[in-house]
Amino acid sequence: MRKLKSILGYAWALTALPIILATFIGMNVWAKGFAGLTGLEISPWYSGGKSAYVVSHEGYTTTVNEPVFQGLVGETKKGFVQVKWTPAEGASLPDELSEAIDFDGDGAPDFSVRLCAGADKAELEATNQLVVGVREVLDLGKERAVRVNVLNPKRRQ
């Protein structure tokens, strides 16, 4: 029994070196495999959430994301909606951007947001009581984004 344990111990110890070598040599493959197998994504609280719809304008597009209410279990009471403006290729964003946003998908605008490209502040006009205020304005290089705090309609019923 002692000899068997010893043999198993050495066999286990011997695997350490191949594990380290395989880790480094196949790092990219393992990393892709890990990402593919787990299907993990970055938390929407950081990424801004998934795109809900895109509005095309002359020279730029506006991407409106699904509202982020992700909780550990279920949804949170408060969240945000991200609105992002992306210039067309080779173009730059106009000095002033404005968009009416329907975040709850009822077909009616819930707020309109106005952003001066050079400034850090956005103006918000809410037509829905669930819209709370501007959370942050993000300068993403050529793109600009605004995150607007909203209340979760499901949690208010």
Partner: protein
């Protein structure tokens, strides 16, 4: 002077370690080697040491010079060659002298310093500063590090998302790659990762070696449970808030890597906390105690990593027949992983990082690396080499890029007057 022996405190280092060790030595009838390696550490012949180093030489040559030829730019080729020689020389010295911690620590500390120089220079070059803006986070530009892993597990299991503003795949230090590296290191080394892979640990390891004698000797044992408390707290709070609490509020190493730009009172408070923790736990306390206080008394990742020692083939064991109960191992252990109870059981505590300091320090060779399932006595040299190969390769491959990067930046500074290209 006899150090106090208590089950609820970590024993202090002897006032004068060498005479103390020699005295115990003499008492046990053991004789010291003239080269100072001690009876437990046999010097190999140079030929055998070269032979033992050969696999590392070939592997490092393959890993470092994988492109087939040396870069023509001296700013790139000189750091590469220096790093290669440095790496091989250290392993050779480990194999030749039988000492582990001394040469591991040289590489480990150099890696940590190299990481800081390379990382900060790259940040300033790419981003213009060490500060991380909300836009950087929204774009997923935050490099992921192993410290975040414990906090991500529950949210990942329940929401299938990672609560960190980085990238899942692609870009510098993406989440998948860092998790794969951590899994590999954990399977092969257990908590040995903390002494053979963590690019932060070398900083306090370095600071802990600045003084010859500790100014603070008694550290109550109860403090060594604090990392487990911090771990539980940050895991629960991170899961409830879906935010990496430790990164936002407590990580001392943001001081030497990157941190949120101070744009509000909250961020100012966070900044004061992490700078204070760095100054206290990574600089001042390691100098005063000669221990890795952040790793041993605070780090939640270290606490989490301790559990991986259970799924790992290697540990450090005490041969009771050789042990004279001199307490030297307890006094030198940087992470408080040896105490009277563990020594009497012939083992270390679960938090052992396998740095080898106690193995080097024992005047009687009572402590040794060990392969689980095998006999403790008689196999120490073999077990040590079995551990050293994967341990050193991980350290060398992981760290050599950081050392090369730092040398490149220093040469850039010397030749152009700036570390930034």
């Amino acid at each position: 002077m006899t150090p106090s022996i208590s089950t609820d405190s970590i024993s202090p280092a002897p006032e004068d370690p060498k005479p103390y060790a020699s005295r115990k030595h003499a008492a046990s009838g053991a004789t010291s080697s003239p080269d100072g390696t001690g009876p437990g550490k046999k010097k190999r012949s140079v030929g055998k040491a070269i032979l033992a180093t050969l696999p590392i030489f070939l592997l490092m040559a393959m890993m470092l010079m994988g492109q087939g030829r040396l870069p023509t730019d001296p700013l790139r080729s000189i750091p590469l060659l220096v790093t290669f020689v440095f790496t091989i020389a250290l392993f050779f010295l480990m194999a030749w002298t039988g000492r582990t911690d001394r040469y591991r620590a040289i590489f480990f500390v150099t890696m940590a310093v190299g990481f800081v120089i390379t990382f900060i220079s790259n940040l300033v070059e790419v981003r213009g500063s060490m500060a991380l803006s909300a836009a950087n986070m929204a774009r997923g530009e935050t490099p992921f590090c192993h410290m975040v892993i414990p906090m991500t597990i529950i949210p990942a299991a329940l929401t299938r998302t990672i609560i960190f503003p980085g990238k899942i795949l692609g870009g510098f230090a993406d989440i998948s790659t860092m998790i794969v590296l951590w899994i590999g290191a954990s399977l092969a080394l257990g908590r040995g990762f903390c002494s053979w892979g963590c690019f932060f640990g070398g900083l306090e390891d370095g600071f802990s070696r600045l003084r010859k004698k500790p100014a603070i000797r008694h550290i109550p044992k109860k403090w060594t449970y604090l990392p487990y408390g911090v771990l539980i707290a940050i895991v629960v709070i991170s899961a409830l808030t879906l935010a990496p609490t430790y990164c936002e509020w407590l990580c001392p190493f943001k001081t030497v890597s990157e941190f949120a730009a101070v744009t509000s009172f909250k961020v100012l408070v966070q900044t004061i906390i992490f700078v204070s923790l760095f100054a206290g736990l990574v600089v001042v306390l390691p100098i005063l105690t000669r221990r890795r206080t952040q790793c041993g008394l605070f780090c939640p990742m270290g606490a989490f990593q301790s559990f991986t020692n259970k799924v790992n083939a290697f540990d450090v064991r005490v041969e009771k027949e050789k042990c004279t109960d001199c307490k030297r191992c307890e006094a030198v252990c940087p992470t408080f992983s040896l105490d009277s109870d563990s020594v009497s059981r012939g083992t270390t505590r679960i938090s052992c990082t396998k740095c080898g300091k106690c193995v080097d320090a024992c005047p009687n060779g009572a402590l040794s690396y060990h392969i689980k399932g095998t006999q403790v006595a008689g196999n120490s040299g073999r077990a040590r080499m079995f551990f050293l190969y994967p341990g050193f390769i991980f350290l060398a491959v992981f760290g050599s890029g950081m050392i090369q990067g730092a040398l490149y930046r220093l040469m850039l500074l010397a030749t152009t007057g700036s570390m930034i290209k």
